[in-house]
């Protein structure tokens, strides 16, 4: 299914993939990753159960240089 990940189209093999599995697939460090789905913040404790739907807009953030 198709989702929008950080503003770009992204194809995930598994329908209804969880946030946790997507993080694993992207080889991201969970400690430095925060997630919002359709602009709603998802608490870290829900990553394992939270299933994504077709066309969901996912934002994955981390720290970046700033003053």
């Amino acid at each position: 299914m198709k989702i929008e990940l950080n503003g770009s189209e992204y194809e995930v093999k598994q329908n209804g993939i969880t946030i946790q599995k997507l993080i694993d697939e992207l080889k991201l460090d969970i400690k430095s990753t925060a997630v919002a789905v359709n602009k709603t913040i998802v608490p870290k404790s829900s990553y394992a159960e939270f299933k994504l739907n077709e066309n969901d807009k996912i934002d994955m953030v981390t720290i970046a240089p700033g003053g």
């Binding site: 460090d29 430095s32 919002a36 602009k39 608490p43 870290k44 953030v61 720290i63 003053g67």
Partner: protein
């Protein structure tokens, strides 16, 4: 005469205590390695970072250059123009384990050209974030009335600008900064505008509690050397303030005694 006890000069922000009065940003460095070295020599304990979408194509990761046991990372809300955006940014940041404290740098920008803060939105966001349990460090105009309002709603520090972000103009209204310092009982950290070491020193001599510097260090020809210069300037300014400078006089006051003069 008793010496000043420098070791006991602690900066308190809410429940947190710091020895260093220099806070630095991580933006605009030529590369992450230079940022790391500058942070190390600056002696800073707090360093600011932004919260942004992950760049999946990035070759390097800022985090791998930051020792989380050594520094407290302070998430900012740079680029946010409404209270809602700023609050959401920090709520999202709260899910990042790299932030070991509830300290946050709140900025709500009101104008693209000056990057001056939007007072109403800032106050609105600060109220929400204080209620959410954050230790809010607001970047604000050099406005004593607003400083008092931010203190009253529970900000344990206020951070007035010296001049526009990244301008390097130095402290444009030292009298307002002094009035802010006299108006609030929470610490005052000057955030933005410092251009070089003398600016940092003069700012600290006004009696403020700390300075947050990014561009003046990151944008210098030799950022690591400038970081060291800023460290010394902040320490010198603080020490001079605590030491009690002499009053200014229009005419000379001889420093050599006249008694015993022969000719």
């Amino acid at each position: 005469m008793k010496n000043m006890e420098k070791d006991k000069d602690i900066l308190k922000i809410g429940k947190y205590e710091f020895k260093s009065r220099l806070l630095i940003g991580t933006g605009k460095y030529p590369d992450f390695q230079t940022m790391k070295e500058a942070a190390d020599v600056s002696g800073a304990e707090i360093i600011t970072v932004a919260v942004r979408r992950i760049d999946f194509n990035a070759k390097e990761n800022l985090l791998s250059y930051i020792d989380l046991d050594k520094y407290i990372l302070l998430p900012n809300t740079a680029g946010c123009y409404t209270a809602e955006d700023a609050v959401n940014t920090l709520m999202l940041a709260r899910e990042l384990d790299v932030f070991r404290t509830d300290l946050v740098k709140l900025e709500v920008i009101g104008d693209q050209k000056t990057l001056y803060p939007d007072n109403e939105e800032l106050l609105k966001a600060a109220k929400i974030l204080v209620k959410e349990g954050f230790t809010v460090m607001p970047y604000m105009m050099d406005d004593p009335v607003l400083a008092k309002k931010l203190e009253d709603i529970g900000c344990p520090v206020v951070m007035p600008l010296a001049s526009p972000i990244g301008s390097g103009l130095g402290i444009r209204n030292p009298y307002n900064i002094k009035i802010i310092k006299e108006t609030v009982s929470v610490p005052v950290i000057v955030d933005a505008g410092v251009g070089t070491a003398s600016d940092a020193c003069k700012t600290m001599e006004l009696g403020v509690d700390g300075i947050l510097i990014n561009t003046a260090i990151a944008g210098a020809a030799y950022p690591v050397n400038m970081a060291e210069a800023m460290k010394k300037a902040v320490e010198a300014g603080r020490q001079a303030y605590l030491s009690g400078r002499i009053p200014m006089k229009l005419y000379a006051q001889a420093s050599t005694q006249m008694e015993g003069i022969v000719f």
